[in-house]
Symmetry: C2
Subunit: 221 residues, 2 copies
């Protein structure tokens, strides 16, 4: 297909596609004439991947480039590539504030959380800082930094993660496997956040709204 | 305290504080001399709230203003204010692409999900679109749009939401209650996402990494 067809298939404007090409996020098509190239399904998938990272993962171009580099490098083992992609996708919060001592204490608490739940994650995984940031904000508003308030979340999230990874086809094209992992990370995260917020609105309805006098919630059978 | 003390207490620069004052996100201090005002703990809390929304919730100034308006208006019932704040915090994804018919089908699937789990959420809650967006991205990458793949997440998230709301003090100052709700939404969400990604790295370790030949995961006792 030409660039117009690629635009139709992905919803990305021609200008956006040319930007991705210029930035090296998208590999060039096969030149068929002066100023004319032919694109294929690989380009369609790549644009969808970029948009998932930008729209759902809210990543900037530089972070998207880092994720794609890990996706594309066949020398990087799949599990290592997954870690690189995860770090690029980790949320960066302004950490100028807060003294180093307090931050070290919160990171030690994160370490206890990881050990308690027997999670195998790298010592330098960016996600440790992400959890520490959240605990530091919660502490500022009177929730404290005890990570045990989060323990109830773990079984459901672990089960869901295992189900997501089990869906990654194997053996399969490595690029397809990485796409599954990367898109899964951001799209299932958006879904999880949406459900979490639904659960909060439901809980608010029961605690502060019209459901105040309703029967207490029972588990869905 | 003066503006310098407010800066020390919150980690926000004096320039940032002046910007919040100019934008009306922060109420003025009590003028004590020309070009000098006195600030109190209410200002400290408000700045922390703004930073939680900006840093963890990644909201822009306009959305922060909408959240604060709901927080501050005593005419708005707590549960309704919660809904307004939730909508302002909902993720907005570019929806230019995708035909209306497919989108309507996915929103109907979201409706079935909400009914199946007996969640009390408004018919026009922004979070419905958020879940629909996630399902549409998942569909593009071969996961389909069947929301039952998310069912396993619900019990843990519902339990956690109830625990979060139960921690909101009552009776209490309405502003404090709203702060709990709003900060809880973004900070616990960041924590949840961090744990979700830890669970994914752990699952990757087991499926593709050194844990491939390890014994299967057992539930933490």
């Amino acid at each position: 297909m030409r660039v117009g067809g690629l635009s139709d298939a992905t919803g990305a404007s021609v200008a956006t596609i040319k930007y991705y090409l210029r930035e090296g996020l998208l590999h060039p098509g096969v030149a068929t004439a002066v100023n004319q190239s032919e694109y294929d399904d690989g380009h369609v998938r790549r644009i969808r991947l970029i948009r998932a990272l930008a729209d759902l993962g809210r990543l900037g171009i530089a972070d998207i480039a880092r994720v794609l580099e890990a996706v594309d490098d066949p020398q990087v083992q799949l599990h290592d590539a997954f870690g690189i992609a995860q770090d690029a996708m980790a949320m960066v919060v302004d950490r100028q504030h807060g003294d180093a001592e307090r931050r070290a204490a919160v990171l030690a608490e994160v370490d206890r959380f990881v050990k308690r739940h027997r999670l195998h994650i790298r010592d330098d995984a960016a996600v440790r800082s992400m959890l520490a940031d959240a605990l530091m904000f919660l502490d500022q508003f009177g929730w404290g930094t005890d990570s045990s308030i989060l323990d109830g979340l773990v079984p459901g999230l672990v089960e869901q993660a295992a189900a997501e990874l089990a869906a990654v086809p194997e053996p399969a094209d490595r690029a397809v496997q990485m796409e599954y992992s990367v898109v899964g990370t951001v799209a299932f995260e958006t879904a999880t956040n949406a459900i979490r917020r639904m659960a909060l609105e439901d809980a608010s309805w029961r605690r502060f709204g019209p459901g105040r006098r309703a029967r207490p919630r029972t588990r869905v059978p």
